[in-house]
C-alpha cells in the first residue's frame, strides 16, 4: 500500500520563519516521495493549526504526518492527539525539529533553509517506515516519598497526607524543621518562626498517614513514574525511639562536659555527645553522635548515659538499617547550605568572633538560643554599633553568581531586631535592595523610619583597629571611601546548593542547573517538575526562595503528585525493546549492558527476553546485539537508517 504523507511546516511566528524559508520548505516537501500534501502555517500548535491537519486526514486520507516545528519535547503529545482524534495511530507522527536544531542556532537564511530541507527529508523517509504502536497502561502505587523535612517537605507531606495518601517523610537530621526551625522572627510580618512553625511539626508527628524517618538518607531509587522502589538507609541513633521519653537525663550525664559545636546553634553553643537538638525538637528524642561519643569513637567510656536513662532506651548495638519502599511519586525538598564566609577571607570571618553569619544572628536573637535572645558580645556587653553586609557569597563571581533573594529582607529584619534589642547604631551595606515580595517594600520603609543607616556600597573588607571592628567600603552615592567602626558585623550570607547535591542528583537521576541547584523541567511552565517523570521539587533545593514561595512551591508539588496518583494508572510509552527468539543466540551481552535489569535469561530456551514493565527504551541492547535480535519499537534499524540516509542525501 502506498502511504499518503501530510507535511506541515510551522512558522512559530518569526521563531522559525525569520531564519528558514517556510514557503520554500513546503514546496520542497511536496517533491518528496510519498508526500500527498505539504503546507506551511503560522502557528500549527494553535487550534486552527491542528484543525488544518485534522481536515487533511479526513478529506485527503492522509495516513502519515510530519510536523516540522519545535522540539518534540514541546508538542509531540499535542500532535499525537491530533492523529488519535482522527482515528490514526499516534505513532504515525514524526516531528522534524527545525527550531531548536535549526532556526534558533543559525543566522544565514539561505543555509538554514538548506539544513531544514535535510532535516525534513530525514523525517519523511522515517515516517514511511513507522509502525502502529499501542501505549501500555500500568498501575500506580498510591504512596509518596518526601525527601527532606524542612518547611518545604513538611508542607508537601501534610498536604498529601491530609488528602488521605500515605507519605514517607525522610530527614537526614535527627529533627524536622530544617533551617526554619533555627529562625527567630520572620519577615515582613515579624511572626515568631517557632509560633507559626511548631504546630506544623507537631502535626507531622501526629498524622497517621505520615511515616517519619529521621537520621535517614535515600540510598537508591529504581523503577519509573508510578512504580518507584526506593531504598532508605536508616542510620543508627543508638537510642530506641519507642522507649526514649526525651527527658534529657542522658545529656546531663554525658561525660563529654566540654561538648562539641552544636549544628543547630550554628556553633554558637556546644552540645554533648548524646543530645536533644533543641527543646521543641520533633521528634523529641535523644540521639548519639558517633563522631564525638567516646564509646563509639574511642571505645572507652563509663557509659554514664546508659546508667542515667530510666527508660533503658540507649542501645549501643543499634545497626544501620536498609528499608525498601514502593512509592508512586517522589518530592525532593532537601533545602540549601548557607554560604561559608571563610571562602572570602577579606571579611575576617573566623578571625574576629563578633563577625557572625545571618543564621548565627538568628540563633543569637532567638529566645531559645544560647543568649536567650539577647544580642550580646562574647564579653557579655551590648554592641553599640552593628554593621550588616549584604551579598556575601551571592552576586559574586568569586563565590556564587546568583542572587540568594532572601538576604536583603533577612538583613533588614535582623537590623530591626538588633535595633529593638540593643538600640545600637546600625549600618546596612547594600548594592541593590531586593525587596520584591508582598509587604517587603513597606518593611523596607519601616526599618528606614527606625533610623537604620543604609549605605549603598558593598563591604570591601573588615579589620580591627583600636579594639573595634572597621568596615571598609565606599559610599557610592557620595563617591567617598568610608571606614565605619562597629562592635559586631553580621554577614548576609547567601544560599548555596547542598554540598552533596551532585550525589543526590545521581541517586534520583535528576539534573542540576549551572548554579548547582536542582533543575526544574521548565523554568516558567513546569517549575516543580523534574526531567524524571514522577519526581518533583519543592523549596530551596531548586533555588533560593523565601518562606512564602517555598510553601507555595511545596503545595504545588503536592498538587502535582496528587493529580498523578489519583489517576490510578498511567500510560507508558510503548517504545520498549523486544528480542526476536528466532535470532537470539543467548550470548547475554544485552543482559550485561541493560541499566534497568529489564532482560531475563530463559534457561529452558537458552535465549534472552525483555521484561516490558522494566524496559525504559534506552536502546542499549539493540546497539550491542551481534545478531540484530534485539529490536526497539519506534527506533528500528530501518527507521533509523532511513532517517540517516535522509539527512545525508
Amino acid at each position: 500500500m502506498k502511504q499518503k504523507i501530510g507535511v506541515y511546516i510551522c512558522h512559530c511566528g518569526t521563531n522559525i520563519a525569520a531564519t528558514v524559508d517556510c514557503n520554500e520548505l513546503a514546496r520542497f516537501a511536496g517533491t518528496l516521495p510519498g508526500v500527498k500534501i505539504a503546507r506551511d502555517y503560522r502557528y500549527l500548535c494553535s487550534d486552527p493549526g491542528q484543525d488544518l491537519i485534522k481536515k487533511d486526514i479526513r478529506e485527503l486520507s492522509i495516513d502519515r504526518v510530519v510536523v516540522a516545528a519545535c522540539s518534540p519535547r514541546m508538542h509531540e503529545m499535542t500532535f499525537r492527539n491530533v492523529l488519535s482524534a482522527e482515528g490514526l495511530n499516534p505513532y504515525f507522527l514524526n516531528i522534524a525539529n527545525i527550531r531548536e536544531q535549526c532556526s534558533w542556532v543559525h543566522q544565514d537564511r539561505e543555509r538554514a533553509t538548506e539544513k531544514a530541507r535535510h532535516i525534513l527529508r530525514a523525517a519523511v523517509a522515517r515516517v514511511l517506515r513507522q509502525e502502529a504502536l499501542t501505549a501500555r497502561r500500568v498501575g500506580i502505587t498510591p504512596t509518596v516519598l518526601v525527601v527532606g523535612a524542612g518547611i518545604a517537605g513538611i508542607q508537601a507531606a501534610l498536604t498529601i497526607a491530609n488528602a488521605g495518601m500515605k507519605v514517607s517523610l525522610v530527614e537526614r537530621a535527627p529533627f524536622i524543621g530544617g533551617h526554619m526551625a533555627q529562625l527567630d522572627k520572620t519577615f515582613p510580618t515579624l511572626d515568631c518562626a517557632s509560633c507559626i512553625f511548631t504546630p506544623k511539626t507537631v502535626e507531622v508527628a501526629r498524622n497517621n498517614n505520615i511515616e517519619l524517618l529521621v537520621c535517614s538518607d535515600v540510598a537508591e531509587v529504581k523503577g519509573y513514574v508510578g512504580n518507584f522502589t526506593v531504598t532508605i538507609k536508616k542510620n543508627p541513633t543508638f537510642v530506641d525511639f519507642s522507649r526514649c521519653t526525651g527527658c534529657g537525663d542522658c545529656t546531663e550525664a554525658c561525660v563529654l562536659k566540654k561538648g562539641v559545636p552544636s549544628d543547630f546553634e550554628e556553633s554558637m553553643a556546644t552540645r554533648r555527645a548524646i543530645y536533644i537538638p533543641f527543646p521543641q525538637a520533633v521528634p523529641l528524642k535523644a540521639v548519639v553522635d558517633k563522631e564525638s561519643c567516646l564509646l563509639l569513637s574511642k571505645g572507652k567510656c563509663k557509659k554514664s548515659c546508659v546508667e542515667a536513662c530510666k527508660a533503658t532506651a540507649i542501645d549501643f548495638d543499634q545497626k544501620e538499617e536498609m528499608i525498601e519502599k514502593e512509592v508512586g511519586s517522589i518530592i525532593i525538598a532537601t533545602g540549601y547550605d548557607p554560604f561559608d564566609p571563610h571562602l572570602l577571607p577579606q571579611y575576617g570571618y573566623g578571625v574576629y568572633d563578633p563577625i557572625v553569619t545571618g543564621l548565627q544572628f538568628e540563633r543569637l536573637s532567638s529566645p531559645s538560643g544560647p543568649t536567650q535572645g539577647e544580642i550580646l558580645l562574647k564579653d557579655g556587653s551590648v554592641p553599640k554599633a552593628i554593621a550588616f553586609l549584604h551579598c556575601i557569597g551571592s552576586r559574586d563571581e568569586n563565590a556564587n553568581l546568583h542572587c540568594s533573594r532572601i538576604c536583603c529582607m533577612a538583613s533588614m529584619k535582623q537590623a530591626h531586631l538588633a535595633k529593638e534589642k540593643t538600640g545600637a547604631e546600625i549600618y546596612e551595606f547594600y548594592i541593590d535592595m531586593n525587596a520584591f515580595g508582598k509587604g517587603y517594600q513597606e518593611f523596607y520603609k519601616r526599618v528606614r523610619e527606625e533610623g537604620i543607616y543604609f549605605i549603598r556600597g558593598k563591604g570591601s573588607e573588615i579589620f580591627k583597629r583600636d579594639g573595634r571592628l572597621v568596615v571598609a567600603a565606599e559610599d557610592t552615592l557620595l563617591g567617598t571611601p568610608i571606614e565605619i567602626n562597629v562592635d559586631m558585623v553580621v554577614l548576609g550570607t547567601g544560599l548555596t546548593a547542598r554540598r552533596d547535591a551532585e550525589r543526590v542528583a545521581q541517586v534520583f537521576g535528576i539534573s542540576r542547573s549551572a548554579d548547582g541547584f536542582f533543575m526544574e523541567a521548565h523554568p516558567k511552565l513546569r517549575p516543580v517538575a523534574t526531567n524524571v517523570d514522577g519526581i518533583f521539587l519543592a523549596g530551596c533545593c531548586q533555588g533560593p526562595k523565601d518562606i512564602p514561595d517555598t510553601v507555595a512551591q511545596a503545595s504545588a508539588a503536592a498538587a502535582e503528585v496528587m493529580s498523578l496518583l489519583t489517576k490510578g494508572e498511567i500510560e507508558v510509552e510503548p517504545t520498549t525493546a523486544s528480542i526476536d527468539p528466532d535470532l537470539c543466540a543467548g550470548c547475554k551481552l544485552c543482559i550485561e549492558i541493560c541499566p534497568y535489569s529489564a532482560i531475563d535469561f530463559l534457561e529452558m530456551k537458552g535465549i534472552s527476553a525483555v521484561n516490558e514493565a522494566l524496559c525504559k527504551g534506552c536502546g542499549a541492547c539493540t546497539a550491542i546485539c551481534p545478531n540484530k535480535a534485539a529490536r526497539q519499537n519506534h527506533f528500528t534499524q530501518d527507521q533509523v537508517l532511513a532517517e540517516v540516509e535522509g539527512l545525508a542525501g
Binding site: P345, Q346, G348, C391, R395, D396, E397, N398, A399, I431, D432, R456, G457, K458, G459, S460, E461, F463, K464, R465, A472, A473, E474, D475, T476, G479, P481, I482
Partner: protein
C-alpha cells in the same frame, strides 16, 4: 601601534560593573589620592572624549596591588584598565617625566635606574657565584634590578647567596646578561617594551639550559609565573625554596635571635600569588623569634605602595603613608623587626621608619637577612 581607548570597555569588561564600590572601598590609596576606581570605570564607559580624563595625575597613584580586581564581584579587570590607560598615555608620550626616565633607562641599560649594565653583577664579585655562560648549572638565581644595584637590597642578594651555598644548592646567576623582568615596566604602561623583555629573557633562559628559576623579588616572580607567555620553566620565590630547605632538614637554623617580629605580605607574593604560608613558616622556624601577626595580614594585608611604578613616580599622593601605618602597627604590636620578602616593601618600609621617628625601635629586614643571622 595606535591604541583606541574606546575598546577599553570591552577589553576590560567595564560593562559588567555593578557600581558596588568594593574596589574603591578596599583601595590602599583611597585616602591618599582622589583615585576612585569605581568612578573611573563608569567615567570610561560614559565619557565621550577620554583624553582629558586620562590626564588626571591620580591615575599614577595606583600601586597595581590588585586588591580591587581580586575582590570585584562582577569580574571587572580594574588593574588592567589602569595598565591600559598608562599604555595609551605612554604611546602618546604623556607619562610623567620620572616614569619616562625609568622606561628609557630600562630600554638602554636593562634597569629602571639607568645604572650601567656592565656593573649589574658587581655585588657578587667576591662571593664565588657561578655565572651562567661561564659555568653550567640547572638552577638560576634571577637577581632582579633593585637587588643588583640598590645598596640596601644588595644585602638581600648577598644573604640569599650565603643561604643557597650553605644548603649546598648548585646555582648560578646571569651576571651582566641579566635584564629587567619587565613587571613594573608593564605596569608603568610600556607594554611593547615588556613584550620585548619577556621575549629576550625567555630566549636567554632557554639558551642557558636552566631547569628552574628562583627570584628575589615577588614582582619578578609574578612576571615569570603569570605574564611570560612562552616560559616553560618552573619559577619559585626564594621564600618557597628556603621553607622547603628547612622542612627537608637541608638548612638548619641553630642560632637564637631573641627578637619579636611581624611580617608584611608583599602584594605580588601574597594576595596576587597566594604565597602566604612559606614566609611565616621560615620566620617561625627561627629559634628565639617571637612571631606576631598584624591585624591586616594575608588577603587583607595593606599595600606598602611600592608597586605599579610608584618607586619611580613623584607625588600624586598625600597624607600619612601606608608604610608609616604599617610601622606604627608593628610597633604597637611590640615587634622589633618588621620582616618582609620584597625589595620594594623593604625600601618603602625603611623610609617609613625614618619618617615615623621610630628608628631606634623598629628595624625592617628581609626574611633572607634574618635567616643568615640564624644560620
Amino acid at each position: 601601534m595606535k591604541i583606541d581607548p574606546k575598546t577599553f570597555v570591552k577589553d576590560y569588561q567595564l560593562n559588567v560593573c555593578i557600581q558596588c564600590g568594593t574596589c574603591t572601598g578596599g583601595c590602599p590609596v583611597k585616602f591618599r589620592s582622589p583615585l576612585n576606581m569605581r568612578r573611573l570605570v563608569r567615567e570610561t564607559i560614559f565619557t565621550a572624549n577620554l583624553s582629558p580624563l586620562f590626564k588626571r595625575p591620580e591615575l599614577w597613584a595606583c600601586t597595581t596591588c590588585s586588591t580591587c580586581s581580586l575582590r570585584c564581584p562582577a569580574g571587572v579587570k580594574n588593574v588592567e584598565l589602569i595598565m591600559g590607560i598608562r599604555n595609551f598615555l605612554a604611546n602618546q608620550g604623556e607619562v610623567p617625566s620620572t616614569i619616562r626616565d625609568a622606561l628609557e633607562n630600562t630600554l638602554l641599560q636593562g634597569n629602571p635606574w639607568g645604572r650601567f649594565r656592565d656593573r649589574r653583577a658587581d655585588w657578587a664579585k667576591d662571593l664565588g657565584v657561578k655565572i651562567l655562560g661561564e659555568a653550567t648549572t640547572e638552577t638560576l638565581l634571577y637577581v632582579g634590578c633593585a637587588p643588583s644595584y640598590d645598596p640596601r637590597v644588595q644585602n638581600v642578594s648577598t644573604a640569599l647567596v650565603k643561604i643557597l651555598q650553605k644548603a649546598d644548592i648548585d646555582f648560578g646567576i646571569l651576571g651582566k646578561k641579566e635584564s629587567c623582568c619587565g613587571n613594573e615596566i608593564k605596569r608603568m604602561g610600556e607594554q611593547a617594551l615588556f613584550k620585548k623583555l619577556a621575549k629576550d629573557n625567555t630566549n636567554l633562559f632557554k639558551k642557558s639550559g636552566i631547569k628552574r628559576i628562583i627570584t628575589i623579588s615577588p614582582h619578578c616572580f609574578n612576571a615569570f609565573k603569570n605574564e611570560y607567555p612562552d616560559l616553560a620553566i618552573p619559577v619559585q620565590h626564594y621564600t618557597q625554596v628556603i621553607a622547603d630547605l628547612i622542612e627537608t632538614g637541608k638548612l638548619k637554623l641553630s642560632k637564637a635571635l631573641n627578637l619579636s617580629a611581624t611580617y608584611q605580605d608583599p602584594c605580588f607574593l601574597g594576595k596576587q600569588n597566594l604565597v602566604f604560608d612559606e614566609p611565616r613558616k621560615i620566620l617561625t622556624s627561627i629559634p628565639g623569634l617571637e612571631f606576631a601577626e598584624m591585624e591586616r595580614s594575608k588577603h587583607r594585608s595593606l599595600c606598602c605602595e611600592g608597586g605599579g611604578g610608584r618607586m619611580w613616580a613623584e607625588g600624586g599622593t598625600e597624607g600619612i603613608r601606608n608604610g608609616e601605618i604599617r610601622i606604627k602597627e608593628a610597633h604597637a604590636l611590640g615587634a622589633k623587626v618588621m620582616a618582609t620578602a620584597c625589595p620594594f616593601c623593604l625600601l618603602t618600609l625603611e623610609d617609613a621608619v625614618k619618617i615615623s621617628g621610630l628608628t631606634d625601635q623598629v628595624v625592617v629586614k628581609d626574611i633572607s637577612e634574618l635567616v643568615v643571622e640564624a644560620m
